[in-house]
């Protein structure tokens, strides 16, 4: 066991016994806390064989939930990518008053419970909400329908792309972009030819994280969706419904599909760090 960051000759050499004990504790705890629950999801999903698993996934309401969840992610993620890039460009490339305040505002969804987000949306668009009577008069349905689900998901996932892209753009500085502008490139050309290649991995990782969070969103969506079976039930809500129906095998089958996405995130992050 050598120290990873080879310090100078005088640096304290790690005590072998302490090192071994700490590594053992770290590995065993992580297996107990993280690996076993992951393994258990697949164990329960496939406990009665692949055919039962397939039947559970192909159950119409579960299938509908998968399709709805995919649709929500497809609508949410591109918008948040565009937002993340725009906000990173404005914040990293320009100095203006209120920059810190803007950053704090953008971070709010990270620190507040999705349930609160859902309640905020209900108080804004609900029948008794601020815009409720106006929406009713114009026959616009936002809550208990796709728009509400998508907007709450956007709320919850809005900082994800920005958080990956912004630090990178700040660290890289804008010399290359300024040079391109000086050479006569248009703003769009600068972005496509200079900025985008530099941030593509961070952008991809941010997008993947955003997707994972979007498909997994539970608290906020459960407030605004109304959980109508086969209509406004996203996959995480469907898992809860199946669980409450005591259809545990069905719940685990649905859960295993979302777990695969989480594992993909894990692999992609490792790949991205190796590229740095």
């Amino acid at each position: 066991m050598r120290p990873a960051a080879a310090p100078g000759a005088l640096a304290p050499r790690p005590d072998q016994r302490v090192a071994k004990a700490l590594i053992a504790a770290a590995v065993l705890l992580t297996i107990a806390v993280l690996v076993v629950p992951l393994a258990y999801i697949f164990h329960r999903a496939f406990a009665q064989g692949f055919q039962v698993f397939a039947a559970n996934i192909l159950e119409p309401n579960t299938l509908h939930a998968i399709a709805l969840t995919a649709l929500v992610a497809l609508l949410t993620v591109p918008v948040n990518i565009a937002f993340g890039i725009a906000a990173a460009w404005a914040i990293a490339r320009f100095r203006f008053r209120g920059r810190k305040a803007l950053l704090t505002l953008i971070e709010i969804p990270f620190s507040i419970s999705p349930i609160i987000a859902g309640i905020c949306y209900l108080l804004l668009y609900g029948r008794q909400g601020l815009l409720g009577s106006w929406l009713l008069a114009h026959d616009i349905q936002i809550l208990f329908a796709l728009p509400g689900i998508v907007m709450v998901t956007m709320f919850v996932t809005s900082p994800f792309v920005l958080r990956e892209v912004l630090p990178l753009m700040q660290a890289q500085g804008s010399e290359q972009e300024q040079a391109a502008v000086t050479l006569g490139a248009s703003g769009w050309q600068v972005f496509r030819r200079v900025t985008l290649p530099n941030i593509r991995w961070a952008l991809l990782y941010g997008a993947v994280l955003c997707t994972a969070r979007a498909v997994g969103e539970f608290g906020g969506v459960s407030v605004v969706s109304g959980s109508i079976r086969g209509q406004t039930n996203t996959l995480p809500l469907q898992i809860e419904l199946l669980f409450n129906d005591l259809n545990i095998a069905g719940a685990f089958a649905a859960a295993s599909t979302l777990t695969v996405i989480a594992l993909v995130v894990m692999v992609l992050k490792t790949a991205m760090e190796a590229r740095r």
């Binding site: 066991m1 050598r2 120290p3 100078g8 640096a11 304290p12 790690p14 700490l22 770290a26 992580t30 993280l34 629950p37 992951l38 999801i41 918008v79 937002f83 890039i85 725009a86 906000a87 490339r93 320009f94 100095r95 953008i106 971070e107 709010i108 969804p109 620190s111 507040i112 419970s113 349930i115 609160i116 859902g118 309640i119 905020c120 949306y121 209900l122 108080l123 909400g129 956007m154 809005s158 248009s186 600068v190 972005f191 997994g216 969103e217 539970f218 608290g219 995480p236 898992i239 809860e240 669980f243 545990i248 685990f252 859960a255 979302l258 777990t259 989480a262 594992l263 894990m266 490792t270």
Partner: protein
Amino acid sequence: MTAIAPAAPVRAKRVLPGFGLTMGVTLTYVGVIVLLPVIALVLKGAEIGPERFVQIITAPRTRAALQLTLVAATMATIFNALYGLLMAWVLVRYDFPGKRLLDALMDVPFALPTAVAGLALTALFAGNGWYGALLQPLGIEVVYTIWGVALAMSFTSIPFVVRSVQPVLEDLDPQYEEAAVTLGAHRWTIFYRVILPAILPAWLVGITLSFARSLGEFGAVVFIAGNLPMKTEIASLLAFIRLEEYDYNGAAAIALVLLFIALVLLVASNLLQARAMRYKGKGA
């Protein structure tokens, strides 16, 4: 709040284009998606009035829910503070087979949907689950108790402490430890007097974020808690129940309390972050 690009004093010599467009997009989006709904909540809170607000918050069921949430989040955060510090230390200071996998695993709780985590933990600790079968004969009940609530909170916020401490520990200049050795300091003294002060701000950032996340956790908790009023009902669930009862005042009051705590913690972690960055800069 669909603000127009502000006439804020931008530096006179601007080479790069696109400020108006990107700022306009940013403010519009944040305004519509984040700020407007939050304002709706605050306005609702103002409408309730202070007297009724205090009444709602101090009602026994609300108090029990808030207390459970705070106590369970504290329990979860204590575990995560220690486990996260151990993981950060082991991942930075030692080399061993499987280290990269262990490192990658640390991100799982963020990528795994909370409902999936809740389902897996509940089934694991139920009487017929792998862990429950071991614990129940010993008389240890996790599901439908405060332990289950704390467990779910802890699982979903594991990465915060690890990922806050790790970079600071990596950048820590070995010369301070070398100096301490030369001066004859004991290993434990070095950790306590040299390393710990340097990583303390980052550790506190992680702890604050972990605590904030635990307070707000919903998906994982509702599965395992059993949600018995006065016993295992967390604050965000009570707010949700109030909504279903069409008691919008009740829901808004509880949500405002949670929002207030979250914002205080956000500001605290930003201040701590600034201190942590100072230490990070010291290295290399």
